[in-house]
Structures are given as C-alpha cells and as structure tokens.
Symmetry: D3
C-alpha cells in the first residue's frame, strides 16, 4: 500500500498534485497551480537521498491497481532525540475513504520497526479538521495546542500537536 | 552580554565545558569529560556557518569583564513554518545568578527583531528543574508535556514544551 | 441561512421554543414551558438594540422555505479585549442534520468579516455532548475544562471552553 | 486593607496612576500619561453604581496608615452563570511586597461570603509574569492558555486563565 | 440491561471471554486463552463480596433475551475521597453496536444514585481507540494524558484519564 | 533521613500530630484533635503490614538527632498497573525548611530502586499551595486538574495530579 517513490512516479504525482490544488494548497505551501513535473522529479530525487541518509522516509500511497493516491512520510528526523515529523496528503478524488488513516498506521508501524525513532509528531493547523480526524483515527494522541507553530497562507497559525510514541 | 562565538573562544569554551561536565552532561549529550579544544573549534566553525546560512544563531554569554560564562542560541530553524529551538547552558561556577534568564530574554528579543521567526521553543526534560525555572522566568509559557521527546542518558524521556511567541 | 430576527418572527420563535423545551431547557435557563410570545417579543427587541449598539449580534436560522429552525448569535461582547461568546440552539424537530454546524460557520465568518472581534468562545457544559460535537465540527478548538463556569439546573457545572480565533 | 473607593480617593488615585504609568500602562489600556482627576472621579462614581447594582465590586487597597496602594475588584459579573473577572494593580512604589496576593485573597473571601458568585477568573497576558505570580500565590489555579483573549498595546495576545472556585 | 453477576453466569462468562481473547487480551491482562470456568467462578464470587463490602460494584451486561454480552463495573473504590475506577468490555461478537456506551451510562447513573461516590474515572491506554470512543460518547470528559499509568503487554504505557463527575 | 516507623515512634508521632492539627487537619481527615496514641499505634502496625505485603511503604522522617519531623510514604499501591500514591506531611514546627522536598526525593529514589512501581502520583487539593510547591520542587510534573478528586472538610474538591515517572 505504501512504497518509496521512484522516478516512474513523476507523471502520476504531478497529476495528483494538480487535481488536489484546491484542497491541499490551503494547508501546504508546496502545493500550487504551477507545480510542474520538474518539481515532482526534484522531490522524488530528494526522497531517495532522504532514505539513503536516514534523514527522511517518504512514501507514495498506491491502491491495489498500483495507482498513486497520495503520499505520506517521515521527515525533519532528529537523530539525537529520535523524533520526527509525520505528514500525509491524499489526492482529492480519493479522500474520505479512510486511506490516509490506514496509510499512516502502516507508516508508523514501519517506522518503529525499521528506525530508532521513538516519537512521531503530527502537527495540524487548527483549521484543518479533516487532517485532525486522520491523526485521531490512526491513534496519535493530542498533546497540546502549539501557538503560531505553522505558517498557513503566509500567516502564523496555531496548530495541534498529536504524537505516536513507541511502546 | 551575548555575542557570536569566535575562534578566540576555543580555550575558554573548552574550560567552561570541562568545569560543567558534572551538571550539564546529564542533560546534554555533547557535554562529556572527553570534550576537547577540537570539539570547541568544530562547534564554533559550525555556528559561523549557521549565522551565514540563517540556519542557527548561536551565541556565547560573557560577563562585564568579557569572560565566557555560558552559551545560548537558536537552532533547528524551520524557515518554512518560522519556528526554532532555543537552548542555553551556564558554566557551573556561575549558575544560580539569573544569568540564563537574562541571556534568554536578550536572545529572544534579538531573534524577533532580526529574523522572521515567530515562535521559539524551549524543550526541557521533565527532570531538569533548573532549566524549567529559567524557561518560566524568561516568560516562555508552558504548553504541554511531550512524551518521549528527548533522549537523556540513552533513554527516551518526557519533556516540557515552553514557547515564546512573537506579539 | 441566518438573518437578524424581526418582530415577524415572534410566533414562529415561540412555537420553536415550545417544541424544544424538553431538549433545550436542561441546558439553557431561558427555555421553559411558560415561555410566551411576550418573551419572544422582548428578546427580539433586545437583539435589535444589540445590533445597533454592537453589544450582541443575534440571528435566526431559517431553512430554504424561510421557516425558523433555530437561533445563533454573538453576545457578551467585550469591546476592549475584542472577544465574545457564541451560542446556538436548533428546534427539536430539526436537530441531527448538521444545521447548527453550518450556521455557526456562517456566523463566525460573518463576525470576523464585519466586526473587530478576534476570538469567539463556545462554552458548553460537560454533559452537553451534542453541543460539544457542534463546536468541534465547526472548527472551534477545545482549550480547557473551566471549573464551575456554568449554572445548569441551578447547580454550578464544569464547562468546556472552545474557541474560534481570527487568522 | 481593602474598602470601596469614595470620592475622597480622587487625588490619591490619580497620583498612584501617574506614578505607575511606566509599569501598568503596558498591560492595562485605561492607564496612560493623560489620566486625569476627572478619570478617577468617573471611575469612582461607576464603582459606586457597580456595588449598588451588583454588577461590579471594586475596592481600593490601603495600608495601615490609610494610604492608597492599589486597587482590586470583581467585574464583568455574569449573574446568570455566577462567574466574574477578578483584577488588581499595585502602585509602582509598593510592588514586590506581596500586597496584591494578600488583597486578592481578602477580596476572594469577601466575594464568596457576600455574593452568589461561584468562580472568579484571573486572566493575565502571557507576557505579564508578575501578575501571573500573584494569581498563583493567591491560590488561583491555571486552567489553560486562551488564544488571543486580550488586547495589549493594540494587538491580540494569548492569556492564561486562572480561576478561584467556591468550595 | 445490567445486573450483578450470579453463579449461573459462569458458563456464559467463560464462553464470552474465550470468544474475545483476540480483542480484549491485548488491553486486559486477566483475559487470556487459558481462562477457565474456575476463573469465572472466582471472579463472580469476588464481585458478590465487592457488592457486600461496597468495595466494588461489578455487573454483567445482558441483552433482551438475557444473553451475557459483556461486563461493566465500578472498582478500586476509594471510600475516603469518594472516587472509583469504571471499567467495561463487550464480547467480540457484539462490539460496534453502542452497547458499552449505553451500559456505562446506566452504570454511572446507578452509581451516583446508590453510592456516595462523586467521581468515576475511565482510564484507557493511548492505543485503545475503541475504548476511548466509548468514554467520550457516554459523556466522560478527557482530563489528561497520565504517563506510564497502565501496564499493557508487560510494558508501561501512557493512558488517557476521562472522568464522570456527580452534578 | 527516612526510615520505616516502629512501635517506639508512638509517643513522638502522637505529639507531632497534635502539634500540627491546625495546619494539617484541613487537608487530611485522619489528623484531628482527638488523635490518640492508640491511633498512632494502629497506624504503625498497619505500616508494618504494608511493608510486609508490599501494599504500602510508609516512612517517618527524622532529623539528624533522630527526632520525628514528619511522615512520607507510598500507598494505594496498584500492583497490576504498577503505580501508587505518594503522600507526606511535616510537623508544624518544622515546615518551610525544604524537608518535605528532600524526603520525597529520597522516597521516590528508594521506591524506583526497590519496587516495580513505574509511576508515583502526588494528588493535592487545589487550595493546598504549600503541598503543591513541594510536588513541583521534588520534580513531579503537573499533569492535570482532576475534578472532585478529593474530599476536604466533607466536600468534594478539585485536585492537581502531579506524577514522578521511572526513567
């Protein structure tokens, strides 16, 4: 269901981003109408480097037929204190089906099994209700409201800190 | 009272670290008996790169006579979401005098005046009471207990998240 | 969908209150079996004064056919600190349809666009689960349990503070 | 130690305000260099009305010699839900002596003995450390950070909600 | 819907436990494949003693036909401070139907009506999402994350404290 | 500094309790003017049983000269979930000297070294500021306000949950 991205994903990823601009760009600055295949290529290359250096573990989410339906990943890895950020997005035509929840659960399990990380943080803007619901359904626990923790649309906004912790 | 470190600080910094091993090494892994001038040199060089690249803003704390009495700094800068980590330590012979509190206040003021950062996080292990008191006295607000957020002595421990926010 | 009440709403409002006594009176002291058209008239007059003085912005919620299905509003306006209370109720025959959630979202948007208020508080008794769900679904963030913050049935009860904040 | 203000307090109050502009005006908009005896008169008259109408219970704090050293009071009384705001300030020449703490304790005791209020809220801007310490020392319990709850210097700021509750 | 267990429940209880080992044993150490009728007998006897001594009030949940579909109860009663723990489990073939929620509501009502207890705590491991949902739906309010409060699978885990309070 | 009580402590303990009635009885129901040597004897006997059964670990605090200056202990041990309550009191003539803080630190260290307990809870009534300060100074972390968790003077009151956790 999740696998590392490869250069073959460029076209599908670009298409998925374009399809999702209306929903995703509000919350994630990298998602915008001018997103091009070159952006996808560059990101995929960086994810390969991330896996190699253990600085980020990004994945594409694919359905049973192999179609790309979103991305999820571990990034901002802090190897000293062994925590990282966990992020995800689903292409607009496939939201509302519980895909993000299952993908995050698989990703978290993979991460606790294959890395030394103890803590995965899911930080969501207070206005992003859909993403908060994913965090809660996959078992991340809400710990706090962090003030001005994210930039959304060029403005600082409060965010909710959820965390999955190794047990 | 605070200024960027220079190569001239190598000897004083090394001495300050050695003097403080018993107090500081428990909480900060970089502080240990084998700390050498080469470590100080390497750190100082990295702080110069940090200032240049705007990825970290590290400072030494000096007294009126110019003696090095500790360090404080901004690091783990996230330029997309405009937040960073704020850290500090005082050499053992100068603790208990309110120096860290004043230095952090100056540092935070400098940061809000000279960078685009909106939020400075002070993350302290639950057992580190002295450092928690500094965070509170300099006006950082306790937002939450973050589970397993730090490694202390090779073990994950809970930490208290305090934050100073631009107003 | 929401509009200021007018004297023409007296009959419909009185009927809606009577229909809802069993559900609403438990949580809101103004709602009781003896509620009369005079009470509706008096409240409507006070809402007109509220709009005029900017001390409260009360609305009725109407369906596509113009029928009154509930009320929502901004009150306890603090013009110095620019925050206010946000309240709502739906007549018993129309609950469970998501009407309150949509009305509150429209109301909050209107308020941030048309007033200087920065913060809208939704304070719900701990036992009032249905109302808590509305607060969460419309994007208000739970900030705390406030002890003995409301009177319910003549007794002080704890309440949950949710807030929507201007961004 | 605390008593209702009277018209005889006008001169002393005006003087105390002027003496305290540097410390108090940052946090309280009513305190500014142009504060005149007319402002004191007007406020004292309003406090007499407040006591009469049970809408506010404002007091001056006086020392053993009868000199005015500050004010404290209950205001924003909500008679339906039986809670109110509790505020205080001490003239600059008398701060740091624990006067506010003792005055607030007397005030809270008076309020629970003489009114039906169940809950007294002390809401302090996150940057106002001195006032937070008073709230903690007099036994009010910190319940939450309320986002953008106060205006300070024309900007919305987060505030800490402390409360004293009738037992 | 809920009634005290009797010796006649031994067979049905044992069967229900066996049916539920896969779901329940992860969270509750008493539930394991070797659970025998002797364990059921012993537990039922202890519940009778609990009712007699007012130290625990355990119940079986039965459907309209009288079949045993789970258990719920009050235990760890602290008679000095008048609080207790509230627990529940539903046999695997009957989960997902809202039975636990209704049973807990009946149990809490019974407890507040028939005992002097003021506070019922529902403490759920952070990973046990299904049980957290029951706690929320029956009106218990989440108060905190308690660190290392439960043992699950031989390891200490964090838990969420929910409470129902007498009003 | 701390040792298990012995029958020889009866007289000193009774005297310490009497001396402290005014300060302690408000918060702890067992402390009252009628406390007699028989009560001390009975308590000491029960602490011996507690140590033997690992159900409670109560200690007396003694000064360098061997005089009894207070008590501290671990009780309400939950052996399944490996947590317990931690309590303390200091005789009135010896308060304010930091004795409780040091004794609790020794007690917690002893407990983590000699038992399987993972979590020690210090639960303090919201009005008991002195005891809250001890909890904070000995490194217990405030986790939440628990509503109506203690009985004080025959009334339910809110309490602050602090915890020390094994690391």
């Amino acid at each position: 269901m999740i696998r590392p991205p490869t250069p073959n994903d460029v076209a599908a990823l670009t298409q998925a981003v374009h399809e999702s601009v209306r929903d995703v760009s509000r919350w994630m600055a990298w998602c915008h109408p001018a997103y091009a295949e070159a952006d996808a290529e560059s990101w995929i290359r960086s994810t390969m480097q991330g896996h190699a250096e253990h600085s980020a573990f990004e994945f594409v989410i694919v359905d049973d037929g192999g179609s790309l339906i979103g991305c999820c990943g571990i990034n901002h890895v802090n190897q000293v204190d062994r925590f990282a950020n966990l992020g995800y997005w689903i292409r607009s035509s496939r939201t509302g089906l519980g895909i993000a929840t299952r993908a995050v659960q698989v990703l978290a399990e993979w991460t606790f099994a294959n890395t030394a990380l103890n803590r995965l943080e899911i930080v969501v803007a207070v206005g992003n209700l859909r993403s908060q619901r994913v965090a809660e359904k996959c078992g991340a626990i809400r710990e706090a409201i962090l003030r001005q923790r994210l930039m959304v649309g060029g403005q600082p906004v409060d965010a909710i800190m959820h965390a999955l912790v190794r047990e």
